[in-house]
């Protein structure tokens, strides 16, 4: 049977790919971000409640930083603001557990940064922030404030591609993935370096070309049932790609409008 033929052929793929996926195979299920936040917040609350009588005289803001130069994983817990940042070479997650649903990113690039020592700031900048990172964080911050979303995470996918992804769901869209990429614009490609951010389907003629908040926007269908749309647009700093699952394209336009009118933080 043909279906078994391709399944058989797939079985002989390179070991490299098999081993690459093995890590996922052995992973435990990821806990959703809001659950992590809730658990983290609950742990903080418990620890603080238990320690309060003993620590009242030393309750100045606590900053615990760990950094490994060989493996630039870095965890910073600023107990004063309840800010939590976890960074690995592949991911950066910045959330404020104190402001849940949606989590707030508003003080990420300011208060936390100010609280670092000079050497920590250097490590911070070298390992996971730079100008691009700041821009994306500002947008992430603005998005969660300007649009009633369930923004979950900010990911810097690799050293070449800085992408903020956000999964939204509200009454307008079943859900939408927003990918905002900055800095890396290659010739002939509208979106950074990763083909993941450049859908071949979007090479067909756009079904809609319009201006939203003064910005040209192209909208493409990517499925036959016209329930998935991709919108591509850019401003002077970042490229946007919004993939939305909705039967009504006007709702996508509302979303784009909300994104484009996000006030940038200082």
């Amino acid at each position: 049977m043909t279906n078994e033929l391709i399944f058989d052929a797939f079985g002989d793929i390179d070991d490299v790919y098999v081993l690459e996926a093995k890590a996922l195979f052995e992973d435990k299920p990821k806990i959703k971000m809001w659950k992590k936040i809730a658990v983290t917040a609950a742990c903080f609350a418990l620890v603080f409640a238990a320690a309060l009588p003993f620590l009242s005289d030393i309750l100045s803001p606590v900053l615990d930083t760990r950094h490994n130069d060989n493996h630039p994983d870095l965890s910073i817990f600023n107990d004063d603001s309840k800010m939590s940042i976890e960074v690995s070479p592949d991911n950066i997650i910045a959330v404020n557990p104190a402001v849940n649903n949606p989590p707030s990113y508003e003080s990420f690039s300011h208060e936390l940064y100010k609280s670092l020592t000079e050497s920590e700031k250097k490590a911070f900048e070298e390992n996971f922030t730079n100008e691009t990172g700041y821009i994306l964080n500002e947008f992430a911050s603005g998005l969660s404030k300007a649009y009633p979303t369930s923004t979950e995470e900010i990911c810097f996918e690799n050293s070449d591609t800085y992408v903020f992804t956000s999964e939204l769901s509200d009454e307008n869209c079943e859900y939408a993935n927003i990918r905002i990429a900055a800095k890396k614009r290659f010739d002939g490609s509208r979106f950074c370096t990763s083909s993941d951010n450049f859908y071949p389907q979007a090479l067909s003629e756009p079904i809609i070309m319009s201006e939203i908040s003064g910005v040209p926007v192209q909208v493409f269908h990517i499925d036959e049932k016209n329930t998935v749309y991709i919108a591509i647009f850019e401003n002077d700093k970042v490229n946007f790609q919004v993939e939305a699952f909705t039967g009504d394209v006007s709702k996508l336009e509302l979303l784009i409008s909300a994104i484009l009118t996000i006030p940038e933080s200082e």
Binding site: N3, I6, I13, K22, E167, S195
Partner: protein
């Protein structure tokens, strides 16, 4: 014990090799088998067959990567059992869906000329396709079609929604089909 040391045990025909292999990779093999067969007893039987096959194949084989080698044998044996069960009309839902999904990628689906396809060439084309995929997509795709994981399992492991995973898989299958068509795997 390292993988190389386990392989050496097999080469030395040391009977503790199977026990060591089982301790280190038993759960891994069983999960692969279970994903395909959907039945604990069949999965256990398949894993035992896998150990037997490993015992008879090492030596002369000396796999560079034991887990991939072991996983591949488990997968193939599971598929054999699945085929046998299908012949007995005991179709398993997950596996039937999975095979049908992959078949969409092959433009020949529904014809009788599949015998003309060289499996090695097909594998080579799939390898090339996987090499071009972004890492995240590739892992999800391989996890689905090599490890036979369910969509909900992938969603749980990656932190994505099931809908999102389905869309990624659907899109990747479409890309694979196009890739195969461009390389002459067509009627």
């Amino acid at each position: 014990m390292t993988d190389n040391e386990i392989v050496k045990l097999f080469w030395d025909r040391d009977e503790s090799a199977v026990k060591t292999l089982s301790e280190k990779f038993g759960a891994f093999c069983k999960k692969i088998a279970y994903n395909i067969l959907g039945d604990q007893r069949d999965a256990e039987e398949c894993v035992n067959d896998t150990y037997l096959k490993i015992w008879s194949s090492i030596p002369p084989e000396k796999p560079n990567n034991l887990s991939a080698y072991l996983g591949r044998i488990t997968r193939n044996l599971s598929l054999d059992i699945y085929r046998k069960r299908t012949a007995e009309k005991r179709k398993d839902g997950n596996m039937t869906v999975l095979l049908d999904e992959l078949a969409e990628c092959l433009p020949l689906y529904g014809t009788d000329v599949e015998s003309e396809i060289d499996k090695k060439e097909l594998t080579s084309a799939i390898n090339a396709f996987l090499g071009e995929l972004p890492k995240e997509k590739r892992i999800i795709f391989v996890y689905r079609y090599w490890y036979s994981a369910s969509v909900s399992d992938i969603a749980a492991k990656t932190g994505k929604t099931s809908g999102n995973v389905s869309v990624i898989l659907n899109r990747t299958r479409t890309e694979l089909k196009k890739h195969l068509e461009e390389r002459g795997f067509t009627v």
